[in-house]
Amino acid sequence: MPIFIDRRLNPKDKSLGNRQRFLKRAREELKRSIRDKVREGRIAEVGREHAVPMPHKDTSEPVFSDAGNSGRRQHVLPGNRTYISGDLIPKPGRGGMGSSAPGNKESEDDFRFVLSREEVLDLFFEDLELPDLVKLNLKQILTFKPKRAGFASSGSPTNINVGRTMRNSHGRRIALRRPKQAQLDAIAMQIAILEAQPLDTARRERIAALREEFDRLERRRRRVAYVDPVDIRFNRFDPQPQPNASAVMFCLMDVSGSMGEREKDLAKRFFVLLHLFLTRRYERTDIVFIRHTHEAQEVDEQTFFYHTQSGGTVVSTALEEMHRIIEQRYPAKEWNIYAAQASDGDNFATDSERCIELLGGKLMRLCQYFAYVEIIDERESHIFGSTENGTSLWRAYSTVDGKWPNFQMKRIAAPADIYPVFRELFARQPALRKSA
């Protein structure tokens, strides 16, 4: 007779701790992988779930093992139907017959994690040195719309829900047995009939009894009200945050020769962050990509970040293009317009003047917000980080900065700068909105 133990109800997830340890260890690799995904992927897809290949560097478990491409060995295999001794079989490419040799090495090649949206964002933001994601959510809700949310026992008379109130009252009347009008009428009728007949003692007593009953019922009717204050129900409304219907985000980027891989990557990360921010805030978010050299054009994301075409620099063309697109497709009444411009700041002095005109004259009135991000060399960051000196565009924009509260400008040099700068840019917004 064996011993039986039913372990099914034991705590599950005995290896949860082990899994967490593994994920912790794999974290660096996962982060790198997410970073690559962000770099290659489309901005709008950053928040999606991602499958990440099994990280290898920190989580491999090396042992001494034979190299496959050396020495002489013998394999014993079953199922020979055609070969005789001395036959030569050409070796297929790697991983063919070679891997079918005896031994049961597990291959973990296609082992992939699927990271949830939150995990992806966590890893994404971690790289940006985000203290905690919640802060992104704080300052976004602008209007509220009341939404029906059940019933309440107190409220203003305009919100009385008649149906629910009457149902309560009906229930209470049944429970407390409130006499009905029909009952009273019936007794009154009986009395009337009796009184119409000649009176004798029996009838008189009967009438007296009926009268008494009539009075009792009427007293009861008065005591048990038809509608009592406890029956009354009010419609309850909950203030629901109302998303501003839609937003469009203009990504403006200078693609002149000086914008290299690093600069574009930084710009992209900034745009990704802005997009995440906007998608949480608005139901619908459009992105418009405008790249410019000495002339500007609207392009798709792929071209925006990866196209190598280059040329001279005329920044104002991008602003003109943006204005044209707003006129055409995004009326400022219906759309919340955001713009982020990334550039290394090189521009002709005359064109910078033109930019100021365009911004001051047209765009700043239309835009909710215009952020200018200047991407500088890491070596420059400690020189220019806090000064107002700098490139031609920076100096020009500084004058706009003073005039328009919804214009902000910052310099970044490394991925770790992006989030702090982003927060600074967008943290001022509530104050700005009041003053605007």
């Binding site: 064996p2 372990r7 599950k12 290896s15 199922g79 020979n80 079989i89």
Partner: protein, 514 residues
């Protein structure tokens, strides 16, 4: 023999199981196993678990108690993924070499499967564990669970005291050397009992208290210096350190100069566990073959006696044939030789040779052919062989023809494989030898030994890899593993590759370069 009155009684009907049925079936099968196959087993403890718990058990190398380590989490995720995607089913059972023998049953199994598992694991594996000489000699079935319990709590205490990262570093390094952490030839010290461990712990604590670093840093005297370099000194030193030593973990545990007592103890735990699993790795074919032979024989006997319904028997047979499915080498499903299939076939072949031998069998197996006592032969083989010797002794020409085995010569520098032998008169012996060889862990694992150490010089540890048939180590994993050895040793480590035949040095690798 079942009496006629019992003959028509079914042991169970329907697919549902309950503990009463399980117990009845176990008792019946155990009695039958003793009567028909003269099995001798440890008492059994059956544990019913869910599929998730089976995954848990899988990933902590099948043990119910295991210390925590990230690699188990990695394997859990890997197995879970395969399972979730339906790429791999879960085992129906898991059995642990302990006394009492623990058998895990999955709650999803039908009653017929539970019966099959009972015969397979609770009797077949159990008999093998209890009687095979490797297990008897190298593992302590009575002590393993309490040892693992000790290991688990010891390691978690270390984590509390020294931090997760410090413990993890030692475990990672020790895990990398598990293959080189077993005694192959001489008998290891037995895993210590409860009391010995308590003493050990006290000793370690005493050493920690009374440890004085001053003694270690005393400058060496002149004589020591001389002894270090002279010829006599070298051999003296090697002798005192028991060099060469093939058990790297043992060597590091005993002689590493930088390991603290608790780190030594962790290395020791990993080594003991590696040693515990070593017999299992040497007896895959025999162990699975034995269990499969037992369940096949017992289930058929039960069916013949009318104790199992036809429906249940069909289900059992379907699962049985899945388990012993062996695709040919050119089949996309081929992934090596199925130990269940080979083991079962060889054992049934022994049965056949004993009872209905052909002339060929009489030539090849004069000792057993036609003697009729197949059970005697099998019990003896189960007790005294491992895969390599079992195949070398019992793989018959009949079976080689049935399996259509052939040997493929594979020279790394050749553009072709060469078919060396096929299943014909000339090939039988060579196929048998080659197959047996491939199951010889001692021969197929890289042979790496500690050969010397400069204890009073720069404390440089020298390892030697004897290269057989020109098979070198994979560079990347070699370097990574060497770094792990350096972690445990604390000083420079070098690995010399020596050709086993000519003695020529093929390559040398230092940790400072990798």
């Amino acid at each position: 023999m079942g009496t006629p009155a019992r003959k028509s009684e079914l042991l169970f009907s329907g697919a549902d199981w309950d503990f009463k049925k399980l117990s009845r079936v176990y008792d019946e099968i155990e009695a039958l196993g003793m009567e028909e196959l003269r099995l001798d087993v440890y008492p059994v403890q059956m544990e019913v678990i869910s599929s998730e718990q089976m995954l848990d058990a899988y990933s902590s190398v099948g043990m119910p108690l295991m210390y925590q380590h990230w690699s188990f989490g990695k394997h859990f995720l890997y197995n879970e993924l395969l399972y979730r995607k339906g790429r791999r089913g879960l085992a129906y059972e898991l059995v642990i070499n302990s006394n009492p023998c623990i058998v895990y049953l999955m709650e999803e199994n039908t009653m017929a499967l539970q019966a099959l598992v009972t015969a397979h694991a609770a009797l077949g594996h159990n008999h093998f564990f209890k009687n095979n000489h490797l297990f008897r000699q190298w593992t302590d079935a009575g002590g393993i669970l309490s040892y693992l319990n000790f290991a688990k709590s010891y390691i978690s205490r270390c984590e509390e005291r020294h931090g997760l990262a410090a413990v993890e570093a030692i475990l990672d390094s020790a895990h990398a050397l598990m293959d080189q952490g077993v005694f192959r030839y001489h008998r290891p010290p037995k895993p210590s009992g409860e009391q010995q461990r308590e003493e050990l712990r006290e000793r370690l604590e005493y050493e920690e208290r009374s440890y004085n670093d001053l003694w270690r840093t005393l400058p060496p005297s002149q004589e020591d210096d001389k002894a270090e370099t002279s010829e006599d000194g070298v051999s003296e030193r090697k002798k005192s350190l028991h060099l060469p030593e093939e058990n790297l973990l043992y060597f590091l545990e005993k002689t590493s100069l930088i390991l603290e007592p608790w780190q030594r103890e962790i290395v020791r735990i990993v080594r003991v566990i590696a040693q515990y699993f070593y017999p299992q790795r040497q007896t895959q074919v025999m162990n699975e073959g034995c269990a499969t032979f037992v369940h096949y024989t017992l289930m058929n006997t039960l069916f013949d006696r009318g104790r199992i319904s036809e429906g249940a028997m069909l289900e059992i047979l379907r699962n049985h044939s899945n388990v012993i499915f062996q695709p040919s080498f050119d089949d996309p499903r081929f992934s090596g030789i199925n130990p269940y299939a080979l083991g079962l076939d060889m054992m049934q072949d022994i049965q056949r040779i004993s009872t209905e031998p052909t002339a060929e069998d009489r030539d090849w197996f004069p000792d057993i052919a036609g003697r009729g006592d197949w059970l005697e032969t099998l019990l003896d083989a189960w007790a005294n062989h491992r895969d390599e010797s079992f195949i070398r002794q019992y793989l018959s020409p009949t079976l080689i023809r049935k399996w259509r085995f052939f040997v493929l010569g594979d020279g790394a520098d050749q553009p072709h494989y060469e078919v060396a032998s096929i299943h014909n008169e000339r090939g039988y012996n060579r196929i048998r030898a080659a197959l047996a060889q491939s199951y010889d862990l001692g021969a197929s694992r890289p042979d790496i030994q500690v050969v010397d150490v400069a204890l009073l010089g720069d404390r440089h540890l020298r390892l030697q890899h004897k290269v057989k048939n020109g098979i070198m180590l994979d560079n990347e994993s070699r370097d990574a593993t060497l770094r792990h050895i350096r972690n445990l040793w604390g000083y420079e480590v070098s690995l010399v590759a020596i050709d086993a035949e000519t003695g020529a040095t093929l390559s040398e690798r230092w940790t400072k370069d990798c």
